[in-house]
Symmetry: C2
Subunit: 269 residues, 2 copies
């Protein structure tokens, strides 16, 4: 097989399974090549990847080592994506009243969401986590992409316990401007005691929902090692949680003047 075809093929093998560790021996067997050739091919693949700005190849040394593709993004490109996100959000047609914006079309534009996910992946890739957790519904495509890219199972917390979830653990928590009591429910089969989770959601205002997620995870002694949010409202200034990473800050939505003030979070990297 022509070498250039083999290199491109190897890169596809890797990029089709983000964060999955491939042993060099796998490539030796598949393509009938020596370890030295496989290693050289991987370094060409890594160069091609950086040329295409689609991520990086990470080498793990040692007997249990290998190579894996991680779809990281450069700070420069992340800033472009964050600005694009702000531009799309900054449209008076989105204003719903009460300081809310219609964002579903963006949060369900999966190709775009994939780029948002890459920012979280870049930031969270070295955390030892067992799951990516979200609460239904609007953050699911984003959390789903992050889970895929980190090669972690996705856990979706439901608002109501469902029969199809088997036995569940539920909590009540306070959320929203009016501090309503809300419910969250997690399938017992979905998680293991004493593990770690990355929490992803599309939007945070006061932090009640995220605090709810942290609390329901605590019921299983699961540590929320990181929390990533697409949009965070600047108000209220005091959040119910103290540690999170977000892409853009919604400073103000003015229902009367039909203006939106939204800015990228420049302190990510």
């Amino acid at each position: 097989m022509k070498r250039s075809i083999r290199i491109a093929s190897m890169l596809q093998d890797l990029s089709g399974r983000p964060s999955v560790l491939f042993k060099l021996q796998d490539f030796c067997d598949k393509y009938a090549i020596s370890k030295a050739t496989a290693s050289e091919d991987v370094s060409f693949a890594a160069q091609a990847l950086s040329e295409s700005n689609q991520g990086e190849i990470i080498t793990i040394t040692g007997p249990s080592g290998g190579v894996k593709f991680v779809p990281t993004i450069s700070p420069f490109e992340a800033e472009i994506i964050q600005k694009m996100f702000c531009e799309r959000l900054n449209d008076p047609g989105r204003i719903l009243g009460g300081g809310f914006l219609y964002t579903s079309d963006i949060m369900y534009d999966v190709a775009f969401v994939r780029d948002l996910a890459r920012i979280f992946v870049t930031k969270f890739k070295d955390l030892e986590s067992n799951y990516v957790v979200t609460v239904e519904t609007k953050g699911i495509p984003l959390a789903s992409m992050v889970a895929y890219m980190l090669n972690l199972p996705l856990v979706i917390i439901r608002r109501e316990p469902k029969f199809s979830e088997g036995s569940t653990v539920s909590i009540n928590y306070f959320s929203g401007p009016d501090q309503r009591v809300q419910k969250m429910s997690i399938a017992k089969r979905a998680v293991t005691y004493g593990t770690k989770a990355i929490v992803i959601d599309d939007f945070m205002r006061g932090g009640g929902s995220i605090k709810g997620i942290w609390e329901i995870l605590e019921e299983f002694d699961i540590d929320a090692v990181a929390t990533g949010l697409a949009i965070v409202s600047a108000t209220p200034e005091m959040k119910k949680i103290d540690s999170y990473m977000h892409l853009v800050t919604l400073n103000d939505v003015n229902d009367n003047s039909k203006s939106i003030d939204i800015l990228p979070n420049v302190n990510i990297f």
Copy 2:
């Protein structure tokens, strides 16, 4: 730049944006190469892709033509995935009673769901559709992957109208073994009158929910051009909808003997 690096990089450009049409001129500009070279490079990229079994490059001729990556799957590989799906489902520990199985861990294993999605993509890629539509919650990662791969917006139908969805259209429909009245709600901003949709969901028993989706789409004069389901229950034999494509058939779940009878649908291709 070394040619093998360029070919692998071009393939990454394409595979990072499934179903997006790239003009050859884009590659000529990016890599400073002639059209003849770009065209030859694309054909090498196509060979590499088929070597890696990750999909195909489709060429569209004519002045508005170009090339695009579509993550199709071969019938042979699809069968392997369908069998794997059956094996994972065929675990007595999943039996919840009432003929229900716990499936969330599989439907939220996004790397696996991506392979399921490729089967739908292979089948639906030539349909002229405007959206991929699902109803919350369990089918969202699957629908999300199909939408990404077909480069279509995802539309998520909610069970209850939410403030953040803006103005909505709701319907009542009958679903489940007890024919309960249920509700579905779709954001008016999410869709355009007179368009087409591909419907994706994780599970169908009698077809009430899918019929509900078809009906709510009809409110907008949207034609459901295809319906793809991961699992379909063999009973009841009479479904409320007549046209759908599914991956595996759940013939029986026996609560007493703790046995599951589930088989791949061999009539997909």
